[in-house]
Symmetry: C2
Subunit: 550 residues, 2 copies
């Protein structure tokens, strides 16, 4: 038997993980990697930070080179080589050498497609001066633009990458206008969770335009749909990506309902000799079982490794995708896993929603930072459906722990029992994740029913009484209109002041509200807690105001 010939289209995260794993499994195989761009195995997640000067050494972005991959892994890596067609019957690909301008056919026994995704570019006048940040060539272009000393920049898209671009442009001393089509930044989050991020951006001087659209780009300006003209020496866009499926579609490979390449549970396309991985491929959503696009580096790397195992003859289990993600911006950390409330309500799921506002570690140890946490729970099964966190230290830790709990099929109430490391610098004896479990357990047991910030107005309209159990000082500092202030510690003795009928109780974050609901319920009153307290209501109300305005 002659050795296998394996061709790989795309030499970044997924493609390169597959190539190196294949070599570790198949020393005899001939492995050729074709990369359309000028570089392989580069740190694409680092590009915004190189732009911002946080990473100052360009070479640190280049994790491997064709030469290093040749000497260590005997890989034949050809950059500036584009695979332009697949002949599935002949098992060959047509390859164009972009520098020489020549074409040739290359035979394969197995073909792996890892072409990634392309940035979405709006079709507006002047769009050609819009820069993106997907590869080294992109970042070189953007760095060249910085040498012309731009004073103003427009960033299109308030998603993860758009926020990283914004932060890094600010870091260069450039004034940034951030335009986002939706009424909130970071749409994987719910609006009340995204609100602190918007506030932080504004506080840093960003001209944040939510629910806005760019309709044309001039030489150093941009025109918005509302007619505003904004200064924009530089324009960077990150309004999403589309799976690169041209090659696959031309070859007649099946695409999925979300427009990505369809693969089976062994990462095979509709042609069993052709595999596909990475951002171009549809994944299976862990919660719905539906097809989904999840353009995340972690999954691309992981699937690169798995596809190598499959080709080497070992069946694998490809886990369904949760879509855990994290981003840092202007000192805030924002992390998310699973589904958000918007998606769950749109899907008609019966859910319990929990907001908390814990500190990163014990309050008595210096340096504790506040955090907002949100947990989404199946009301029937107690299954964890998603989580979001925004704050300082320890946000990434809590979401990683919850994502792990979801993978381990722990319920929301089970979070109470997790044994997480505690010392005063790192956590509290009841870690924020444990506290989510406590709240979830109380809700599940029916001990403390709650309503959401967006349900309050209807409750009040229907005649419920809102009781603010914070201290008078807190109340004076800002309160929900129409609320009656009776501090928790006075509640037993002032019970007579409370009107008949249904009661909504709230405090600052929800914890005193919980105690008040328990007290009132045991005294025979119908009482529910305003989940997340004044803080969540305030953030939600600010976001809703913007939603209406937009």
């Amino acid at each position: 038997m002659t050795s296998q010939r394996i061709l790989i289209v795309g030499g970044v995260a997924g493609g390169m993980s597959a190539a190196t794993r294949l070599r570790r499994l198949l020393e005899d195989a001939e492995i050729v990697v074709f990369e359309r761009g000028g570089h392989v195995s580069f740190a694409n997640c680092g590009l915004p930070y190189y732009l911002g000067g946080v990473i100052d050494d360009r070479s640190s972005l280049l994790l491997q080179t064709p030469a290093s991959l040749r000497s260590r892994f005997e890989l034949d890596v050809r950059v500036r080589h584009e695979v332009v067609a697949i002949d599935r019957d002949a098992r060959t690909v047509r390859v164009r050498d972009l520098e020489a301008g020549t074409e040739s056919d290359e035979r394969y026994d197995a073909l792996i497609l890892s072409p990634g995704a392309n940035p979405v570019r709006p079709e507006i006048p002047g769009a050609d001066r819009m820069l993106t940040l997907r590869d080294i060539d992109d970042v070189d272009t953007a760095m060249a633009a910085l040498t012309r000393a731009p004073r103003t920049a427009l960033v299109l898209g308030g998603g993860f990458i758009g926020l990283e671009m914004t932060e890094n442009l600010l870091h260069r001393g450039i004034a940034v206008t951030l335009v986002e089509r939706n009424p909130q930044v970071l749409t994987p989050l719910d609006p009340e969770m995204a609100e602190p991020v918007a506030a932080r951006l504004r506080a840093a001087g960003v001209d944040l335009r939510l629910g806005a659209e760019v309709v044309a780009l001039g030489a150093d300006t941009a025109t918005l749909a509302d007619g505003d003209t904004i200064a924009a020496d530089l324009v960077l866009a990150a309004i999403g990506v589309r799976p690169e499926t041209t090659l696959a579609a031309q070859a007649g490979l099946a695409l999925g309902p979300r427009g990505g390449i369809r693969v089976d549970d062994q990462l095979r396309t509709s042609d069993p000799a052709i595999y596909a991985i990475g951002d171009a491929v549809e994944k299976v959503d862990a919660l719905s079982g539906d097809q989904r696009l999840v353009p995340l580096a972690g999954l691309a790397n992981r699937h690169g490794r798995l596809v190598a195992d499959v080709i080497a003859g070992t069946p694998v289990i490809v886990r369904d995708a949760l879509g855990t993600a994290v981003v840092g911006v202007l000192g805030l950390t924002i992390a998310v896993t699973g589904w958000n409330e918007k998606q769950l309500r749109a899907a008609g799921r019966e859910i319990r929603v929990i907001h908390t506002h814990p500190a990163s570690h014990t309050g008595y140890y210096p340096g504790a930072q506040p955090m907002a946490l949100k947990l989404l729970v199946d009301a029937r099964t107690d299954e964890i459906l998603g989580a979001q966190a925004v704050g300082g230290d320890g946000v990434d830790k809590r979401i990683d722990v919850i994502a792990t709990a979801m993978t381990g099929r722990l319920t929301a109430s089970d979070l109470a029992d997790l044994e997480l490391g505690y010392a005063p610098q790192y956590s509290s004896a009841k870690d924020p994740v444990n506290m989510l479990g406590y709240v979830a357990h109380n809700a599940r047991a029916g001990l403390t029913p709650s309503i959401q910030w967006h349900e309050l107005a209807a409750e009040l309209a229907a005649g419920a009484t809102l009781i603010d159990v914070r201290t008078p000082g807190e109340y004076r500092g800002g309160a929900i209109p129409g609320s009656l202030n009776i501090p928790l510690d006075d509640l037993r003795e002032r019970i007579g002041e409370i009107p008949a009928g249904r009661l909504i109780v709230h405090c600052k974050v929800g914890q005193r509200g919980h105690t008040a609901v328990r007290l009132l319920t045991q005294l025979g009153r119908e009482a529910v807690n305003l989940d997340g307290g004044y803080l969540t209501w305030s953030a939600g109300s600010a976001a809703a105001t913007r939603l209406v305005a937009a």
Copy 2:
């Protein structure tokens, strides 16, 4: 029916969690808390940091007071009241008012024992001047001692608390001698994992005496078993705790094999009207199912809440204990969960051991900090049995994730599939926990067998050849005696230089070694990887040298 009368012995973590939860469930119950000390609900984990001046406000340690607990929870909290006897037939306790000197009997329907644990004190001459840090009175005494401007201090015990004491005394500018009976600090860790902690202590100027014992204390000195005399203006001890079982034992309640109070799966003692929680109580070990003492605040708080549910009529599930713990010392974070290699080998378990040395986040983003990780795996089932980590940022996160995976019954190989948040500041596309899963999977699949640092000498004695696949520069900077240096990238062409027979391969951390083992195995050679590479071997060897010397 008259309301229940519930008495609680001990008003700190477990007792106070039980009291406040009980009030939320039973508004009518009479709840009385007896605390022998002068304070309830104080931050015992913060005491070393108050001593060190890191926490400067004493009142921040006092989370609740009898007055605040009265007004919010209608609790009758009596400090300086010691319960001295239980009359189980009469369902009364004998309570001594330590200030008034009087005694009285108090009736109960349910009694909760949460007396905690007492510091072990060695019986040596001069032991009366030894200070401990278990409660506010202790820390007040220690603070008073600081006013006498001690220049030297002796800390007994190199465990979690002993290291926190050491750090905080250094913070006060006091020269510290740390004496530990065992040949390593932090015995929950294995010796090669504790070695960097010892090195850090020495680098900070601590006179670290391992395998040493104090036999006598003078007025400002201490005498060690080896005859050395050391200066010790101040002596602080943290050599462990013993469950406070005096009251339980006198009342004839069953104790367990480890000397703690025995409880059933509903936290009931052998008397169904008496419950017990916290450090005084034996827990069930999650891995062995055996009884175990786990004096950790998280479990005490959690069980306080559970016992309240039981008394209020809701059956609970008390999870077996993993014993996750974390400590910070001199800029290092050290965390652990489950069993260590010493325990597993002593128990005759067939295990796989994995050491890695990842960075806290991507190397191309500034500020990445090194970390040593260790995973212990059941060789037959792939079950995760324990983990240890030492390093900077992100150590606590990784151990919390692994502890959560253990609770969710994920296997070691499953760690590869966890979807953990990735952005360059927080992690790598393959998170260190994912990497542990990769290594575990490779070991399980038989792709890359490995040996441990402590198995190398026997392998070499039996005739195996050790090949160091690092670069010549790395080799010159320090190598394992007897090793042959052939860099990984030269291995294919220099294969002829390698002697016949079994090969042990190593690099710096194990990753290049893995690639080399795969290459050599596919070329027909018998090769195994030295797990954790040169770094683990160096740390282990340094620890072993000390072990022999001690």
